[in-house]
Symmetry: C2
Subunit: 282 residues, 2 copies
């Protein structure tokens, strides 16, 4: 997977063409929620993640393991991140949902952990500390950094919605983040995280960040609609949106049919999240 | 250490009285920078961290392991975090410098990793996602969360300095964070991170957050003065500042005398960072 050195947006486009879908499955595994027949230990979690990936890999363009759930497993965390990434086929991208943010030398260590130790294709990054906290994640044009912009949670109003003075305008903080991301996206490998739970903000961020990929959480358990996420978050040609769903797929059934149930949910979502192939005329 | 269930500020005060010092030593171990005689592997890193703690524990009130450096070690990371915490005496607090920030259910997993799996006494938290991303870290009044406010790096100007409309005033974003932190600090266990590299901002944040602990990076390798950090960051009675120094202590010598050299640096810093005992009259 890491030998793939094409520019990040090209890799994303290829993954979406291969699956025909903007679907991203978030891997947020809580051992207390494993389905029937799986032990709440390292082996059970590994079986579960592998089973979910095998049941859905042809339907998704991106998997998004959430690091918090791995870290809560202590010593089992890093080996489980590695076995998860090993189970993802080369045609599907991985985003390490880490939301890291730290100053330059420390950011470099986090980027090393995510991109070299684990081998993620991209990571989510918290922009609060500014440029030198983002730069280590975008040095390699084949890997991407998705900056938190307008997040899907209720608390996102606390700071992200503050009106700020920026270049003679009054803009919400999340829009300033989007505008800086556009400036920083020289190699095309900077993206945004914008939740579908604030649908008008998602539409607006697509207008501001015309050529940036947008990772869109908030579908399913958080209340958003997959099709709305794609309509508002994609470019007019249907590209550059990544719609993330976690619990709706992972925990589609708590019974022994969990893998088949996950596939059935992923199929429905794939159909709601079709990415058109380019027309023959290009 | 975790049996200590007194309120966080009381625990901090006790640690500072015991050592007589506001000194916090950041543990940012890069295996490429280990001194003479130590192998760049798990055992060498463990020896180094243990040696640094043994050489300095009576002089410091807080150790601040930086999670990025542990995560870059892959599978060795979690065991080394645990052995680091095990080496810290009960009289000294630990802050997990993780700068995590995520939405509610995920934030709970991060808090579980930091406070239950590892057993840190406090953590640094990125406030960008708002209240529900902070709340899981402050449920236990004996543990603290230090919110990134005005950080020590050059990029901190990019977003933290933006002027925002807040309650009829125009305030820099970092000051809005400080004001929200004051509102959220019901149990006294919310603190701020403010770098001494922006000294006037540090003085101002002490005025805004009268009763909150402030963790102050930026001394030493980043150019700030320890005594200035204490003067500007502490309350008038000399309390509630935690002045963090990493490389100046850790890498005081690259020779075989590294432990003695670390102690000599910590002694100098302790003397610059004296916390007065309360007067007999209270």
């Amino acid at each position: 997977m890491n030998a793939n050195a094409r520019p990040f947006q090209e890799r994303l486009r290829n993954a979406q063409l291969q699956s025909g879908s903007a679907l991203c499955v978030g891997i947020d595994v809580d051992p207390r929620r494993l389905p029937e027949g799986l032990a709440p230990d390292r082996r059970g979690i590994e079986q579960f993640i592998r089973g979910i990936i095998e049941a859905t890999a042809d339907l998704v363009s991106v998997y998004k393991p959430n690091l918090a759930f791995f870290e809560a497993l202590g010593d089992d965390g890093p080996p489980l991140v590695r076995s998860t990434l090993a189970a993802i086929p080369d045609s599907v991208l991985s985003i390490g949902d880490a939301k890291r943010g730290d100053i330059s030398t420390t950011a470099e260590r986090y980027a090393t952990a995510l991109f070299e130790v684990f081998g993620f294709d991209a990571a989510t990054v918290n922009p609060y500390q500014g440029w030198d906290s983002v730069e280590p994640y975008i040095r390699d044009p084949s890997r991407g950094a998705f900056l938190l912009c307008k997040t899907s949670n209720p608390g996102s109003v606390d700071f992200q919605d503050l009106l700020c003075e920026y270049q003679g305008q009054r803009l919400p903080l999340y829009e300033v983040v989007a505008r800086r991301a556009v400036e920083w996206a020289g190699a095309g490998n900077v993206g945004l995280v914008v939740g579908v739970t604030y649908p008008e903000d998602l539409s607006r961020m697509r207008q501001v960040a015309t050529d940036l990929p947008i990772l869109i959480p908030g579908v399913g358990a958080q209340g958003g609609e997959a099709s709305e996420a794609l309509e508002r978050g994609a470019r007019p040609d249907g590209t550059l949106a990544i719609v993330s769903v976690s619990r709706q797929v992972l925990y589609a059934s708590s019974g022994a049919d969990w893998a088949a149930a996950a596939r059935a949910e992923a199929l429905k979502l794939r159909d709601a999240l079709r990415v058109p192939a380019p027309s023959a005329s290009g």
